[in-house]
């Protein structure tokens, strides 16, 4: 009896060790930033999926608003087919886009000090707004607009944080002094961010008739960035369900086998 209890204690303690030491790594850094509100994303949960209509709207917001300062350098134009763009639509998207052409037949990459350019193809990476970090800082009063490809994975509570940040711009409290070229946002560590509130109502015109409120655009572009960070998410969860189901059945069978084998000992 005693050993039975001690064993349960043992098991419970191991579970506690495990879960607590894991949670310990998730303790928020004490930046004092406001805690982002939990949103419901279609990608959440065991059955998470991409809402392709939303991702297309999100691409539109990225392309028309964010892309003037932020890159998504890990994404190729061809990847846009994964969120529901047809190859004709992708061709339309890249119609006016030019990329560095690379060396020509004479081995030249520049002409008169300017890069040689060629029209973009679907196999090209989505072009970045600036040629390098220095140019980006020069154009943004010294601040570097980060690449957005992995943003939802590169911040704690990524998607919720992004949405809170995008919709969270407001006037600073009376006792808070905002530095020059900075903007107040309670969700940003330190409360001051170089980015100006990027979204405004009707900032884009959605072709599917969705009303382009700040809330809507923020959710759409965040959903798009969940996709750029984890394009495998949908496939991962679908495969995961099958694997879990298999392992459940398999383990149940192994349990039966184990019982059967050990029964011989009696």
């Amino acid at each position: 009896m005693v050993t039975m209890t001690s064993k349960k204690v043992l098991l419970a303690a191991f579970l506690i060790i495990f879960s607590s030491s894991v949670n310990a790594t998730f303790v928020e850094a004490s930046s004092g930033a406001a805690h982002p509100e939990e949103q419901s994303w279609t990608t959440n949960g065991l059955f998470g999926f991409f809402d392709r209509k939303q991702l297309k709207r999100g691409w539109q917001v990225y392309n028309e608003v964010c892309a003037s300062c932020h890159s998504v350098r890990l994404i190729y134009y061809r990847n846009l087919s994964e969120i529901g763009f047809s190859s004709d639509e992708i061709k339309k998207i890249i119609a006016d886009v030019e990329v560095p052409a690379g060396p020509n037949e004479d081995g030249e990459t520049h002409a008169d000090g300017e890069l040689l350019m060629r029209p973009a193809k679907p196999f090209d990476k989505i072009i970045s707004p600036y040629p390098n970090d220095l140019a980006a800082r020069a154009a943004n009063a010294g601040a570097l607009p980060p690449d957005l490809s992995l943003m939802t994975k590169a911040r704690k509570n990524g998607a919720n944080y992004l949405h809170a940040l995008l919709t969270g711009f407001k006037d600073a409290p009376a006792n808070f002094e905002v530095s020059e070229d900075m903007n107040y946002n309670p969700y940003f560590p330190g409360f001051q961010i170089a980015m100006v509130a990027p979204l405004s109502d009707e900032g884009v015109e959605y072709s599917d008739g969705t009303k382009a409120t700040v809330e809507q655009m923020s959710k759409d572009v965040t959903a798009f960035l969940i996709w750029t960070a984890e394009p495998e998410l949908e496939e991962r969860k679908r495969l995961g369900l099958k694997v879990m189901l298999f392992l459940l059945v398999f383990s149940a069978m192994l349990f039966a086998v184990k019982r059967q084998v050990w029964a011989k000992l009696h």
Binding site: F14, S21, V27, P146, S149, L150, A154, R155, M244, L254
Partner: protein
């Protein structure tokens, strides 16, 4: 143990010249095992399984990884996006690291609870500690490879620890870096060593099993096998039991891989390494947190407070010594523990000491994740102190003065007494 007679002529021919089949038969088929092992004895084979999974997934990752500071981060992202099932293999490898430590920590604590390190299994235990050290080195090296912010800054912090070595410290650190900071040569070196060490672990595991099979498994009663009635062949009993463990473990492991692959990770490591930007909090992976807490627990005025050590030892040096000795001290555990009784089930005082020690290490883990200041620092110091007091003072003393419970005559006697040896082991 008799040599099996093989019927198949090919097997017979081979076995006569190179007895691999006899070896397998003796190791995992007829191998005699105590009949009362509980499920905590599953974690050794699970650790072996994780090692194989890590090597297999790692070999595939290495086919697509580029060890160059300007390409490493992007090559990992290419694996995640453009390599067929690259995301699966990479998430398996990434979470496999955490799984390895979960499984091995349970395995080590099981050894501590049931006194598995005691005579005649001291070397078995010590080899295990070396496996653990090699694992820690491998995990640290591997974490540097994706070349994220935490990779870079973790590598900088940990390699700098060696600067406390007297006289040669700076030279050793520069030798580790192959330069004057963590940079491209460091990354290349770490990649090479990260690929090498798992095979050294594999060799150590072989020695670990050799030592194990010499004196056989300990068991929840901690008493020796006294005859045939105490043992059962490994196959089919423990192959079946281990297989069930594998099924349940894979549910747990792959649950993270498919549904929360970044649960154990730091978001900062999805930002490419930047030597010019220091992250606000540099934290190691969760499995190093207790040691990180010990490292940072040593006060600046350490020497003044204690007055026992030469004045030349600065706090950082003392912290590094404390951190390494917290693991190396475990090598001496078979001799620090003076009790002749192995299993904590028969040691009423040690039973509680064990659990307080477990809780102490959990507290250290918590503290390791917090900034080293205020209450957390104080808690970290007390927990660090207790860690050493437990090993150096309490364990030796308790073994001497504890009144242990009477041990059963034999494993089979205890099994018959409890009436069931499937659900209950002791």
């Amino acid at each position: 143990m008799s040599t099996p007679t093989w019927k198949n002529p090919i097997i017979k021919w081979i076995d006569h010249r190179l007895p691999v089949f006899t070896f397998i038969d003796h190791s995992v088929v007829t191998y005699p095992t105590p009949r009362n092992l509980n499920y905590f004895w599953n974690f050794g084979s699970l650790a072996g399984l994780v090692l194989v999974i890590m090597i297999a997934s790692g070999v595939i990752l290495a086919m697509n990884y580029t060890a160059n500071t300007s390409m490493a981060f992007d090559s990992v992202e290419r694996i995640m996006r453009d390599v067929n099932y690259g995301w699966l293999i990479r998430y398996i490898h990434m979470n496999g690291g955490s799984m390895f430590f979960i499984v091995v920590y349970i395995h080590i604590f099981r050894g501590m609870y049931y006194g598995s390190y005691k005579e005649p299994r001291e070397l078995l235990w010590i080899i295990g500690i070396f496996i653990f050290l090699a694992m820690m080195a491998t995990a640290f090296l591997g974490y540097v490879l994706p070349w994220g912010q935490m990779s870079f800054w973790g590598a900088t912090v940990i390699t700098n620890l060696f600067s406390v070595i007297p006289f040669f410290g700076e030279t050793i650190v520069q030798w580790l870096w192959s330069g004057f900071s963590v940079d491209n040569p460091t990354l290349n070196k770490f990649f090479s060593l990260h690929y090498l060490l798992p095979f050294i672990i594999f060799g150590l595991v072989f020695l670990h099993l050799w030592a194990l099979h010499t004196h056989k498994s300990n068991n929840p009663l901690g008493i020796d096998i006294k005859g045939d009635q105490d043992e059962i062949p490994f196959h089919p009993y423990y192959t079946a039991k281990d297989a069930l463990g594998v099924g349940v473990f894979l549910l747990f492991f792959l649950g993270f891989v498919f549904f929360a692959p970044n649960f154990f990770g730091e978001p900062d490591n999805y930002i490419e390494a930047n030597p010019l930007v220091t992250p606000p909090h540099i934290v190691p992976e969760w499995y190093f947190l207790p040691y990180y807490a010990i490292l940072r627990a040593v006060p600046d005025n350490f020497v003044d407070v204690w007055g026992l050590l030469p004045v030349i030892i600065p706090a950082k040096t003392a912290g590094v010594i404390a951190m390494f000795s917290s693991i190396l001290l475990l090598i001496l555990l078979p001799w620090l523990d003076t009790s002749k009784v192995r299993s904590a089930n028969f040691r009423p005082t040690y039973f509680w000491l064990f659990w307080i020690f477990v809780i102490d290490t959990v507290i250290l883990g918590f503290v390791g994740a917090k900034p080293a200041e205020g209450t957390w620092l104080l808690v970290g110091r007390l927990a660090t102190l207790y860690y050493f007091v437990h090993l150096v003072v309490l364990v030796p003393l308790v073994g001497r003065f504890e009144k242990t419970k009477p041990l059963p005559d034999s494993i089979s006697a205890a099994v018959i007494l409890s009436g069931t040896d499937i659900k209950e082991s002791s």
